[in-house]
Amino acid sequence: MNIEVRDLSKIYAPSSVALQDVNFATAADTQVLVFIGPSGGGKSTLLRLLGGLESPTTGEIFHDHTQLDQRTAPLRSFRQKNGFLFQQFNLFPHLTALENILLPLVEVHGQTSANAEKTALAGLDRFGLADHSEKRPGELSGGQQQRVGLARAMAHEPELLILDEPTSALDPEMKAEVLEVIEELCESGQRIIFSTHEMGFAKAAADEVLFLAEGTVLATATPKEIFENPSDPRIATFLERVMKW
């Protein structure tokens, strides 16, 4: 994928600057892009801007050399092409796992109920949820909920899958079960951008790593460069601290 960002800023209020003059371009052969960095550094905001969930205060975003149109209608059709997963509360609690996946397939992508159901059940099966299709989110564990969220985000074969700290709210065992699924997606050739605090996973899965802190990009590099030879002392300090335990 080719993502380029020019002078991107997101300022919620003068005292709340999420991103300030961010510039970067990914390598053309990057298939999995990973954001790391301290909490509050701007990872979520950048993901949301790239995914068209929010509009920047200033600056431009290019996906495969096409500028992201920030008007309501084009932005919505852009979102429809992609898939999202947030940290938590992704699913609609009043719908079953199956219905959660069916809703966008039928109402957004115009599939017939029969087709949508076939796709949704295949997706649930792929992520090991075949027995849980009729359960509501409240009856599922956190890890299962995130996997349903992934199945929903993947059901319409998105061009780009965006995951915002998909395992941060999970205990270690569930973390593992969700990371395994994401790993499988990375290996299947799916284009993915995700942010994470799982450094081991970032190192293993990423083609390219972006380090964000204090609302700006400190480095864009291969995982090897970032983890073994960080260009910025702030990255070294951060990694040293999080890798210590």
Binding site: Q80, F86, F92, P93, E107, H109, G138, R152
Partner: protein, 209 residues
């Protein structure tokens, strides 16, 4: 009569309440102000004055207007005037309940809906309103019970509902206890099932654990 009045007024007030809610949530400032003004007016004045004004002022004025415009003499029956006033009254309260329910659905649900590409209208329809319904059920049921009880006030414009009939019987027989105690029980017989049905519905819409 009481049952019929309450049932019809409940139906109209749900519809009117929904319209008021939509007006309050609309992005147009004018509709928001109008809805807000209406709700404050209704909630800030006693029902009994609304009934009197509705019947002796608005209803009469409308009859005059129709006579002048179309040369037709109509006379609105107290029964229908009563229903309209009760509906208008309950709708204001209902719309506040509805608005509270809709606004209680969290930001993350909106975000999730947007992320999968739903339009705002679709988010209301498939995500927000189905969840809000369960949250507004208890308060709405309470309001419908109020509606049944409030219908007794319509006796002042001579609607022959439960209260007025009892009052007439008591006036003839001087048997206050024999008249008014059954009257109270009679209202309970109508309102208790409302609570029961509401419980049933709540259980059906339950999805949180």
């Amino acid at each position: 009569m009481t049952l019929l009045i309450s049932a019809i007024a409940a139906g109209i007030s749900i519809l009117l309440g929904a319209i008021l809610t939509a007006a309050q949530l609309a992005s147009v400032k004018m509709t928001r102000l109008l809805a807000r003004g209406y709700i404050e007016l209704i909630r800030g004045t006693p029902l009994i004055t609304q009934i009197v004004i509705g019947y002796y002022v608005f209803s009469v004025a409308l009859e005059e207007k129709i006579l002048i415009l179309f040369s037709v003499r109509v006379e609105f029956a107290p029964f229908w005037v009563g229903i309209v006033i009760l509906s208008a009254f309950s709708a204001a309260y209902l719309s506040e309940i509805f608005r509270g329910g809709i606004e209680s659905i969290g930001k993350t649900q909106w975000e999730s809906g947007r992320a999968i590409g739903l339009s705002d209208f679709q988010i209301y329809r498939f995500v927000v309103i189905p969840q809000a319904i369960r949250r507004v059920l208890p308060a709405s049921a309470g309001l419908f019970a109020d509606l049944v009880k409030n219908s007794s006030l319509l006796y002042i414009i001579a609607v022959h509902e439960f209260f007025m009939q009892t009052r007439g019987a008591v006036a003839n027989s001087y048997a206050s206890i024999e008249g008014y105690i059954p009257l109270a029980i009679g209202y309970l017989i109508i309102t208790l099932p409302i609570s029961l049905i509401s419980r049933k519905l709540e259980a059906r819409f339950k999805y949180e654990h």
